[in-house]
C-alpha cells in the first residue's frame, strides 16, 4: 500500500451544517486545491467555499446569438439570394415569417452549447478514471454523507494537520485517497463489449434488412441522382441510344431566321444596318468580334492575328476595298462566308452580326483617322465645354 501515491486526504460528515462549517474553515485556512462532494447541491456552499459566480451564462449568450444570426442569414441567403421566389405575396426577406425558425435555432444552439460546454469544458467530463472513483468516500457522498478533501498538490498540504483539523470539525471518518497505479477501463470488459457488439449488429442488420429487403428504397442521396436526362447521357428510350435529341427538321431557332441570299456572290442592295452605334451595341460588337473574328483578322482588324502564316493570310479590314464595303456587303460575307472564311450564320445571331459591323466601322475610323478628324473632335469637345 505504501508505494501508492497519495492523492488527497478526505473526511466525511453527516450533517449539512457541519460540512458548511468545514468548507469555510478550509477555505479560510488558505487551501486552494480542495473540493466538497455532496449528494445534492447545498445552499450556502458557494459562499462558504468563496466560489466566484458561474460564468456559464456567457457561453449561452454567445451561442444563442450565433443561432439567431445563423438562422436569419441562412434564410436570407436561401430565400432572397440563392433562389428568390415570391411566396404568398410576401417579400423575399419576410422577417415576421422568419421569426419562428430563428427562435427555435436560437434555443437549440443555446441549450446544446450550454450543456456541452459545461460537461466537456467546465467539468472536463467524461472522467471515469478520477482517483475519487471506487473509494468508500465516493460511495458515501453519492448516498447520504457530505465529504470534503484536500489534494496533496496543495502547497499547504500536511497529512496529519489536516486529519486533526477534520476530527476537530466533527468528521465521522477520514480517509486517504490514492492515485490508482494503473488505469482500469471497465469499458473493455468482455461482457460489455459483447453486449455492445450484439446491439450494433442487430441495429445495423435490422436497418439494412428493412430498408433494402423490405422496402427496396434507394440510398438517401439528397437528390444527387435524378430521373431526368442530363447532357451527354444515354437513353434506352430512343432507338439510337442518345439522350440528347436533334430539333425537328425545319426548326428555326430564335435570332436565326434563314438567310435569303445564301450562296449568291453579290448581296442585295436592300440589306441595311438596323442598329445604331450605341454604346451597348458597340460593346456587344466588340465582344463578338474578339470571340469570332479576331482569331484570323486580329484584335484591331489588321489581319495580323495569332494564326498568321498557318492558313492563307486573312486580309486586313482597313484596306480601301473593305472600307468601301456597304454594311450589307459585310453582313453578307459574315453570313455566307468568302474564300477560306466559313459561314458564321449558325454561331452568331443576325443582331450580333450587325453589332460586329458597327464595331468594325469604329475600328476602321480610328485606324484611318486624318488630321481633319482631330480638328473636328477638338471642335466638338470645345463645344461640349461651352455647354
Amino acid at each position: 500500500m505504501n508505494n501508492k501515491k497519495l492523492f488527497a486526504v478526505s473526511a466525511l460528515f453527516d450533517d449539512p451544517n457541519k460540512i458548511i462549517e468545514a468548507a469555510s474553515k478550509i477555505s479560510e485556512s488558505g487551501y486552494t486545491k480542495y473540493d466538497v462532494n455532496t449528494p445534492y447541491p447545498i445552499h450556502g456552499m458557494d459562499k462558504a467555499m468563496k466560489l466566484k459566480p458561474s460564468n456559464l451564462g456567457f457561453v449561452t449568450l454567445f451561442f444563442g446569438l450565433s443561432g439567431t444570426a445563423i438562422a436569419l442569414l441562412f434564410m436570407y441567403w436561401t430565400m432572397s439570394v440563392d433562389y428568390p421566389m415570391v411566396i404568398g405575396g410576401k417579400p423575399f426577406f419576410a422577417l415576421p415569417a422568419f421569426i419562428p425558425v430563428t427562435f427555435e435555432l436560437t434555443v437549440l444552439l443555446a441549450t446544446l452549447s450550454t450543456v456541452i460546454g459545461m460537461l466537456a469544458f467546465f467539468f472536463k467530463l467524461p472522467a471515469n478514471s478520477h482517483p475519487l472513483h471506487d473509494t468508500d468516500y465516493m460511495q458515501n457522498v453519492s448516498k447520504d454523507k457530505y465529504g470534503i478533501f484536500v489534494e496533496s498538490a496543495d502547497p499547504l498540504f500536511d497529512e496529519n494537520k489536516l486529519r486533526n483539523l477534520f476530527k476537530d470539525l466533527g468528521a465521522i471518518k477520514t480517509e486517504d485517497i490514492f492515485i490508482p497505479e494503473k488505469e482500469i477501463f471497465p469499458v473493455f470488459q468482455p461482457k460489455f463489449l459483447i453486449l455492445l457488439f450484439i446491439t450494433a449488429l442487430v441495429v445495423s442488420g435490422g436497418t439494412y434488412f428493412t430498408l433494402n429487403k423490405l422496402m427496396y428504397t434507394l440510398p438517401f442521396n439528397w437528390m444527387m441522382d435524378q430521373g431526368k436526362l442530363n447532357p451527354q447521357k444515354g437513353s434506352v428510350l430512343f432507338a439510337d441510344g442518345f439522350g440528347m435529341r436533334k430539333p425537328v427538321e425545319g426548326t428555326v431557332a430564335r435570332g436565326f431566321i434563314p438567310y435569303p441570299y445564301k450562296g449568291e456572290l453579290n448581296p442585295s442592295q436592300t440589306l441595311s444596318n438596323p442598329l445604331l452605334p450605341t454604346k451597348a451595341v458597340l460593346e456587344l460588337g466588340k465582344k463578338k468580334f474578339l470571340t469570332f473574328c479576331s482569331p484570323c483578322h486580329g484584335n484591331f482588324a489588321d489581319g495580323d492575328s495569332r494564326l498568321h502564316g498557318q492558313f492563307p493570310n486573312p486580309p486586313t479590314l482597313h484596306s480601301e476595298r473593305a472600307r468601301n464595303f456597304s454594311d450589307g456587303m459585310i453582313f453578307h460575307i459574315i453570313t455566307n462566308g468568302q474564300n477560306v472564311m466559313p459561314s458564321y450564320a449558325s454561331q452568331v445571331t443576325s443582331e450580333e452580326r450587325w453589332a460586329i459591323i458597327n464595331y468594325v466601322r469604329v475600328l476602321q475610323r480610328s485606324k484611318n483617322a486624318s488630321d481633319s478628324d482631330l480638328l473636328l473632335s477638338k471642335e466638338e469637345s470645345s463645344k461640349n465645354v461651352a455647354k
Binding site: S54, F98, P100, H130, S142
Partner: protein, 457 residues
C-alpha cells in the same frame, strides 16, 4: 382529510432519511421484474404490434387504406399528431416553468413528466411523417444542399413545425439527461453488478458530486429551464399556426395559439396524473409522489379546463361578431351538424367533468380523479378531431362536402401509438430512476443547513 393550506405542505411525507429515499427510488431498478410487469408489457406490446401491422399494411398498399380523402385530407394523422404533442407539453411545463416559479413539489414528478414528454413527442413525430405517404423520404423536410437550389419554404408553418418539434425533442432530451447525470452517478456507486456499473459509469460521465460542479450545474439547469419555458409555449403555438395561418373557416382565428397552449397543458397534466396514479401505487412511491402532488396537478387541470372552456365560448362569439357567414356556419355546424356527437363529447369531457375538481374531496380521491383525467384525455383527443375534421368536411364549397369516416387502419395506428407510449413508459420505470434522487434528497427534511444566514431558497 383536513389539510391546512395556510402552511406549505411537506414535499415528502413520513420523514424519510436520505438513504431510505434512495432505496425507494432505486428498488425497481435493482429487483427482477415481476409478473405484473410482464402482463402490462404484453398488453402494451400487443397494442404496439397492432399499430405496426397497420402501418406495414399502409406502407404496402399506400395511404389509401386510411379514411383520408377529399375534402378531409388531414384527418387522423394530424389529429393524433396534435394530441401527442399536446401531451408532451406537461413534462417541460413541470420541469421548467414550475422550476422557475420555485415550486418545490415539482421534484417528485418532474423526472417522470419529462420522460413522458419525450415519449409523447416520439409518438407525435410518427404521424406527420407517415402522413407524407413516403416516410423514408422525410429527410427532404430539412433544408439540404440541392443541385437545383431548391430550399424548403421558410415562410410555411409546416416547416416551422419541423423546426419546432425537432428542437423541442432535442432540448427535452438534453434537459432530461442533464437531470439524470447525478442519478446515474448514484446508481453507479450503489450497484454491485459489474455490467450495470459499466453502463452507469458511461452515462454518468464520471460525475463526482463535486460542489465546484454543482455550482455550474445549478446555473445550467436554470438556463435550460429559462429556454425551455418559451420553447414549450412556442411549440404548440407553431402547431396551432398550421391551422391558423390557413384561410379555412374555423381555423383562421387569432385565439388559436393561447387556446392550443392551454389545451396542451390541460391534456398533458391529465396524462401525467393518469400514469402517476399507477406508478406511485405499483412502485410504492406514495411518500414521494404524495396525494398533495396529485391535488396540485388537479388544480392546474381545472384552471386550464376553464381556459379551454373560455376559448370554446370565445370562438362562437367571434364567429358571430365577425359577421363572416362562413365562420358562423362552421361553428353552428360544429355544435349541431353531422359531427355534433364529437363536439358534445369534447365539451362535456373538457369543460363539464373537470368542474368536479372544485371539491376538495374529489381532488384528493384517487378513483374519482382517475375517471375524470381519463375523460379529459378522451375529450382533448376529440377537441383536435373536431377542429380538424369539422372545418375540412364542410368548407367554402358545398359541392365538395363529405362525411369523414376513419378506417380500421386509422384506429389501429392510433392504438399503436398508445402502445408505443405505454411500452416506453413501462420500460422506463424499470430502466431509470423514475424520481430524481438528487433533487428529492435536496428537499427532504433536514437536508439543508439551517443557519448559514443566506435568505435564498
Amino acid at each position: 382529510m383536513n389539510v391546512d393550506y395556510s402552511r406549505e405542505l411537506p414535499t415528502i411525507e413520513g420523514r424519510l432519511s436520505l438513504a431510505e429515499i434512495e432505496r425507494l427510488v432505486a428498488t425497481p431498478l435493482e429487483s427482477k421484474p415481476d409478473k405484473k410487469f410482464y402482463i402490462a408489457l404484453s398488453i402494451t406490446g400487443t397494442f404496439l404490434l397492432i399499430g405496426a401491422i397497420c402501418l406495414a399494411i399502409s406502407f404496402y398498399y399506400g395511404t389509401g387504406m386510411w379514411g383520408n380523402n377529399q375534402p378531409v385530407g388531414w384527418a387522423f394523422p394530424i389529429v393524433n399528431f396534435v394530441f401527442w404533442v399536446g401531451i408532451g407539453h406537461a413534462g417541460t411545463l413541470i420541469s421548467a416553468i414550475l422550476f422557475l416559479l420555485r415550486q418545490k413539489w415539482r421534484t417528485g414528478i418532474a423526472r417522470f413528466a419529462e420522460a413522458m414528454t419525450i415519449f409523447a413527442v416520439m409518438c407525435a413525430g410518427i404521424f406527420p411523417i407517415i402522413h407524407t405517404g413516403r416516410p423514408w423520404l422525410a429527410g427532404y423536410l430539412t433544408p439540404y444542399p440541392n443541385q437545383h437550389s431548391l430550399w424548403v419554404n421558410f415562410t410555411s408553418p409546416l416547416v416551422w413545425d419541423v423546426f419546432a418539434v425537432s428542437t423541442y425533442f432535442t432540448v427535452s432530451l438534453v434537459f432530461w439527461y442533464v437531470g439524470l447525470i447525478p442519478d446515474f452517478a448514484t446508481m453507479r456507486d450503489r450497484t454491485v453488478s459489474k455490467l450495470r456499473k459499466t453502463i452507469y459509469s458511461i452515462f454518468s460521465l464520471g460525475w463526482r458530486h463535486s460542489n465546484r460542479h454543482w455550482q455550474h450545474y445549478e446555473k445550467a439547469y436554470m438556463l435550460l429551464a429559462g429556454f425551455a419555458t418559451p420553447l414549450v409555449l412556442s411549440v404548440h403555438t407553431i402547431v396551432s399556426f398550421d391551422f391558423a395561418v390557413s384561410i379555412m373557416p374555423g381555423w383562421h382565428t387569432t385565439i388559436f395559439p393561447p387556446y392550443f397552449v392551454a389545451g396542451a397543458i390541460f391534456s398533458g397534466f391529465a396524462m401525467v396524473v393518469t400514469v402517476l396514479i399507477f406508478v406511485r401505487k405499483i412502485f410504492d412511491l406514495q411518500h414521494i409522489i404524495t396525494i398533495n402532488h396529485l391535488e396540485k396537478m388537479n388544480k392546474v387541470i381545472i384552471a386550464t379546463s376553464m381556459m379551454v372552456g373560455y376559448a370554446y365560448a370565445m370562438e362562437f362569439f367571434i364567429a358571430w361578431y365577425s359577421g363572416v357567414p362562413a365562420e358562423q356556419f362552421v361553428f353552428i355546424n360544429r355544435a349541431f351538424g353531422p359531427y355534433a356527437w364529437a363536439y358534445w363529447i369534447m365539451v362535456s369531457c373538457n369543460v363539464i367533468f373537470p368542474q368536479f375538481f372544485w371539491f376538495r374531496k374529489i381532488r384528493r380521491s384517487v378513483p374519482i380523479m382517475l375517471v375524470i383525467v381519463i375523460l379529459v384525455n378522451v375529450g382533448m383527443w376529440f377537441e383536435r378531431f373536431v377542429i380538424t375534421v369539422t372545418s375540412l368536411s364542410r368548407d367554402f364549397l358545398p359541392s365538395s362536402w363529405a362525411y369523414y369516416k376513419p378506417t380500421m387502419y386509422d384506429a389501429g395506428i392510433l392504438l399503436g401509438s398508445f402502445g408505443l407510449f405505454f411500452t416506453l413508459v413501462i420500460l422506463f420505470t424499470k430502466a431509470l430512476p423514475v424520481v430524481s434522487i438528487s433533487e428529492i434528497k435536496a428537499v427532504a427534511d433536514g437536508a439543508q443547513p439551517v443557519h448559514h444566514g443566506g435568505s435564498h431558497e
